[in-house]
């Protein structure tokens, strides 16, 4: 409580200090947009030319607010990949200024990740990276499918969960410890096809922000990271159709103004078709009707109904569907699963200094399976459904402060593996209970520029999580009514990060972040599967807690041409969850009864060097890290390497623009081999060989390394026509490295003679894979009568 009082006093102090300045101050505010399509630009930099420290950045809606003493200024608007715009402003009253920036720069410049100018050095945030999607499209991609989550894995501190997989681990945290948001809606399962592709269709996405350390108080509910993805709003100047044909999937996006500069829409779809094409070949086999496909649909409309009000409605719907049909034994099943999200947002400007956003969000992840064979049938379903309301304010009282505060409430409904089966006339049901919970949070944070050299981001987040009825306690037998609290947890999370500038191009940063996590997904595999289920904190499962300490040195060279950084971190993780060592999947048992609990820690150093401009650009990231866990019930209580432990992890990403027509991309990755549990011995029971395992994760498979190349050909780069297209040729695993994917043992015993053989085999997944993708864009620049469309 004392700590809370301290923070309250601090904030009140900050508020009042704002008004005691004496000199008259005025506010310049507005939006920063892309002149080409009217899309707002996120995290654009706005600062005074004379003193770049007097500056701000646009928020996720492209809004900025800069309060300065009365006077004449040259205001610079900059966003990497766009030409800077300088505007003379005579500030003697509050003023609105919406600025459109032009894509491209006079010198040929290609940008890989956008962190404008020296933001890297001057901002207070640590471990935060902004990744506009346009900049990843020229990098090589597995089977040509551009994937934001896989690009994130090329950054230091972010590991891929396994070969070719979009699942990721951040700084030693599990896959459920990443908060993945799409237009503010939580995406509970971000993978298609067992995670080989993410659910994010790059054509529908504008921007991705990764926060792996120093999570601001605005975010919560997960221990390790935030991946905040914003969908495009839709071109509000003219119609455009973009699309592509690839080996795995094809894409089509249509966007345009509904009412020019007032409202616009975007509809974007993607679907796979490899198995559809194979259907004729299956026609005469016993597997007729077997098919697999996935699809995504992204929709968004926005409407500006006044200068101060804007409404956004966005949605995502995606499914993986597997149909299996074997006439051989009359066995068939259907297994669809996927996410649906919907977000309705209202932006309102109370004043030039106070920006509000209200969101109503619905999201749903559902897995289902229905199979049958003769008169036996089984159906299983599981999922998560959230109803979420949020109220967020951005308040810019002075150039020294940027405050953000708000409240957030979610009603969770978590469905375990509900199974029912019929055998003839008899029905079976597992008696698992759907669990319900309230989750609420209140937060405040201030980005406070104390002096030219010192700035701080201070925040506090308070959480409440309460499992509620209907529920019957397995521990006490007590029956809870609708919405009656079963178990309530409270959490207080101070967040702090600070920057101290050593000189114009170098700074030191430090941060402490505390987090609580109330929803958990526990997987006993290296990657998550659609069958893995999310469970709430309950009487049995306590919230996961984490605290992260980070320290960084940031330095830019050659007028910000090269950005470098070294960050070290230490994470203390409590109430970590795993399955017991003798876990057997059983649909009749509530998974929380199979859980065991323990603690973890993770520490490491991340080195990053990035060149954002010039014909040749890219980055090199290297991480040296250690992650382990200690569980009373695993490994007889001895510390063991976490599945997420990778000692060395190196990524090299290069882009080279040969000329306007040809563009090359290359990626090289190297990582210490995954930890696995080795065989200790073999033994005989019922004349069959059985495996006895050694210490958990005490052996390693061979190191992982791979190189990918891509070449993008734009035949007519400067065409004036409405239509343009490009070809992306890429080669995955260029030198055909056989990276171990998993190891399995094969044992055989002749039961008559007791002759036994055993072998271990290593399976490698992807050999060298070339692919080609054709992308096109049609822009109806002359379309001037958009009202007719809707």
């Amino acid at each position: 409580m004392k700590r809370l009082n301290y923070y309250l006093l601090l904030f009140i102090g900050l508020f009042f200090s704002t008004w005691l300045g004496g000199q008259q101050q005025f506010t310049l505010s507005g939006y920063v947009k892309d002149s080409g399509n009217g899309e707002t630009l996120i995290a654009a930099n706005i600062y005074t030319k004379d003193n770049p420290a007097q500056g701000t950045t646009s928020n996720i809606y492209g809004f900025y607010s800069l309060t300065l003493p009365e006077g004449n200024y040259t205001i610079v608007f900059s966003y990497l990949g766009f030409t800077d715009k300088e505007i003379e402003v005579e500030l003697k009253a509050d003023a609105r200024l919406t600025v459109e920036l032009i894509e491209g720069v006079s010198i040929e410049e290609v940008i890989v990740t956008a962190e404008a100018k020296d933001n890297n050095v001057s901002g207070t945030e640590m471990g935060t990276i902004n990744l506009p999607v346009d900049n990843i499209k020229t990098l090589p991609a597995l089977l040509g499918e551009v994937d934001v989550l896989k690009t994130l894995q090329l950054l230091p501190g972010v590991l891929s969960s396994s070969e070719g997989n979009a699942g990721f681990y951040v700084r030693g945290g599990g896959p459920d410890q990443n908060l993945v948001l799409l237009d503010e809606a939580v995406v509970y399962n971000s993978g298609h096809m067992l995670g080989f592709f993410s659910v994010f269709n790059a054509d529908a996405i504008k921007n991705t922000t990764l926060i792996k350390g120093g999570m601001p108080a605005y975010y919560g509910g997960r221990l390790s990271s935030v991946v905040d993805i914003q969908m495009k709003e839709g071109n509000n100047k003219h119609y455009a159709v973009t699309g592509g044909i690839g080996l795995i999937a094809s894409r089509l996006t249509v966007e345009g103004p509904i009412q020019k500069n007032v409202s616009s829409f975007i509809v974007s779809g993607r679907r796979t078709y490899a198995f559809d094409l194979a259907q004729p070949a299956l026609e005469d086999t016993n597997f007729k009707g077997t098919n697999y496909f996935f699809y995504d649909l992204n929709l968004k409309v926005n409407y500006r109904f006044s200068d101060r009000d804007r409404l956004y409605l966005s949605g995502y719907f995606g499914r993986d569907v597997l149909n299996y049909n074997s006439q051989l034994r009359g066995f068939n099943f259907r297994m669809p699963y996927g996410n649906s999200t919907g977000t309705l947002r209202w932006n309102h400007l109370f004043s030039d200094k106070l920006f509000m956003n209200v969101s109503a969000i619905y999201n749903d992840y559902e897995f289902s399976f229905a199979g049958s064979q003769s008169d036996f049938s089984v159906a299983v379903r599981s999922g998560v459904r959230d109803y979420n309301a949020k109220l967020d304010f951005d308040f810019f009282p002075s150039v020294k402060h940027a405050l953000k505060f708000g409240i957030n409430y979610t009603y969770h409904q978590l469905t375990p593996n509900l199974a029912n089966a019929t055998s003839g006339d008899v029905e079976f049901e597992n008696a698992l209970q759907v669990k319900y919970a309230h989750e609420a949070a209140i937060y405040i944070q201030d980005d406070y520029k104390i002096s030219q050299r010192l700035s701080m981001n201070i925040g506090l987040r308070g959480n409440l999580f309460s499992q509620v009825g209907p529920y019957t306690s397995e521990l006490t037998g007590k029956v809870y009514d609708n919405l009656e609290p079963v178990k309530t947890y409270l959490g207080l999370e101070p967040r702090w990060s600070a920057k101290y500038s050593l000189d114009k191009s170098a700074s030191l940063k430090a941060g402490i972040t505390m987090n609580n996590q109330y929803l958990h997904l526990v997987s006993n595999t290296t990657s998550t599967l659609p069958t893995d289920i999310w469970v709430p904190s309950t009487e049995v499962v306590r919230p996961q807690r984490g605290i992260q300490y980070a320290l960084g040195y940031f330095r830019n060279f050659k007028d910000d041409l090269y950005e470098t950084s070294v960050e070290v971190y230490y994470k203390d993780l409590r109430n970590q969850i795993d399955y017991g060592e003798s876990y057997v999947m059983d649909v009749a048992v509530d998974v929380e009864n199979d859980f065991v609990f323990g603690n973890g820690r993770s520490f490491g150093a991340e080195f990053f060097i990035k060149k954002s401009k010039g014909k040749l650009n890219g980055w090199i990231g290297y991480t040296l890290a250690k992650t382990d866990r200690r569980f009373e019930d695993i490994n007889e209580g001895r510390r063991f390497n976490a599945t997420y432990d990778r000692t060395h992890d190196l990524s090299v990403v290069l882009n080279y623009k040969i000329n306007p027509k040809w563009h090359l991309g290359a990626v090289f990755v190297y990582g210490t081999g995954n930890a696995f549990t080795p065989i200790k011995s073999l033994y005989l029971i019922e004349n069959n060989l059985n495996v006895e395992y050694g210490d958990r994760n005490s052996a390693r498979i061979a190191p992982y390394h791979r190189m990918d190349l891509s070449a993008t050909l734009t035949p007519k780069p400067h065409t004036d026509k409405n239509f343009s297209s490009s070809w992306v040729f890429s080669v995955y695993n260029l030198y055909n490295r056989r990276n171990p994917f998993f190891i399995y043992y094969f044992t055989e015993t002749n039961e008559e003679t007791l002759n036994a053989t055993a072998s271990a085999n290593q399976v490698s997944l992807f050999p060298i894979i070339p692919s080609v993708t054709w992308n096109f864009t049609w822009e109806g620049k002359k379309a001037d009568h958009p009202n007719e469309v809707f």
Binding site: S582, M585, V587, Y683, E686, F741, Y745, A758
Partner: protein, 316 residues
């Protein structure tokens, strides 16, 4: 009967990738930890009340090929083994195959054949079994049996209880669904589970007098069907490394004589077989290891009590 493993079905999703996959041999590091003593011992009641017997072996570091029958030091000799049934204690006597006369061999074979262990005739070398040869103690339903093994300065302990039996009834061979040869039959049986008590089942089948082979998923508990009566298919037991393809797997052949051995076991036994079978079929990228849950303190393996019914059937 057992639910389809969704996880193994998921692996079907991967074929398009696995077509690309390639395999090579992996040489594991050989673990130098001391070997464990492996207990495999049973006692049975029901249609036959059988005496306790135990086979004691050693776990082996990873190898590529071996014959257990002739392997030096595979069988653990000179153990002092007792079984206590709450009233009496018997000492199990170590008998090695080569020292037995024909009558003794026959008795041992009958015993061993009941479990999933095959006949000992064909095994080269000198197989040894600890057994209450004088039949001083045989299994009785409802009783618990404490096993105690003193060997090489170690003491191993385990306990098992012979459960109440729950019978099967109504056996029927039907023509299975699908495009299959017309000589194959599926066995349908009816179980009337006992309400309000935890029941754990394990079954085996023997074809034409051969040894009993456990079903591929040989154990199940009644968590999903407590107290219910229902019909379900009972697949033929297949050896772990069966060559039976999807066409014939688990199906019976017309004209064969089948004996179904239907048993009730205790929870520890269920956990052992459940983890052992789960571990044997779940390997690969979507699976972690499962440590087999042994009921033997101080060693690994199983001390198991079976309460069994035997149902001879003709496939017709």
């Amino acid at each position: 009967m057992k639910y389809f493993s969704i996880k193994s079905i998921l692996i079907l999703l991967g074929p398009c990738f696995l077509l690309l996959a390639c395999e090579e041999e992996f040489i594991p590091e050989v673990n130098s930890d001391p070997q464990d003593i492996v207990v495999e011992g049973y006692i049975e009641a029901g249609d036959f009340n059988l005496p306790p017997y135990v086979i004691l072996t050693r776990s082996q570091p990873f190898f590529t090929a071996i014959n257990f029958g002739t392997l030096d030091d595979f069988f653990v000799h000179d153990a002092f083994i007792t079984v206590f049934d709450g009233d009496n204690t018997v000492v199990l006597e170590e008998l090695c195959w080569n020292d037995l006369d024909e009558e003794q061999k026959e008795l041992i074979n009958v015993l061993i054949n009941q479990s999933g262990i095959g006949g000992l005739d064909s095994i080269p070398g000198n197989v040894c079994v600890y057994v209450d040869f004088d039949l001083e103690m045989t299994g009785e339903i409802g009783k618990s049996y404490d096993l105690r093994i003193e060997v090489e300065d170690k003491v191993l302990r385990a306990s098992t209880t012979l459960q109440n039996r729950v019978p099967l009834d109504s056996f029927e061979f039907i023509i299975p669904e699908g495009n299959l040869p017309d000589t194959l039959r599926e066995l349908r049986v009816v179980l009337r589970d006992v309400p309000g008590e935890l029941n754990y089942y394990r079954y085996f089948t023997s074809i034409n007098g051969d040894r009993f082979i456990p079903g591929f998923n040989s154990v199940i508990d009644d968590a999903l069907f407590d107290g219910q009566e229902f019909e379900f298919p009972l697949p033929k037991g297949e050896p772990r490394n069966t060559s039976a393809g999807p066409t014939t797997f688990g199906l019976y052949t017309l004209g064969d004589t089948v004996v179904v051995r239907w048993t009730n076991i205790d929870q520890d036994n269920f956990n052992f077989w459940n983890t052992l079978e789960f571990n044997a079929i779940n390997q690969g990228p979507f699976s972690s290891y499962t440590r087999v849950e042994s009921n033997v303190e101080g060693g690994i393996g199983i001390w198991g009590g079976y309460a069994a019914y035997y149902y001879p059937l003709l496939v017709e």
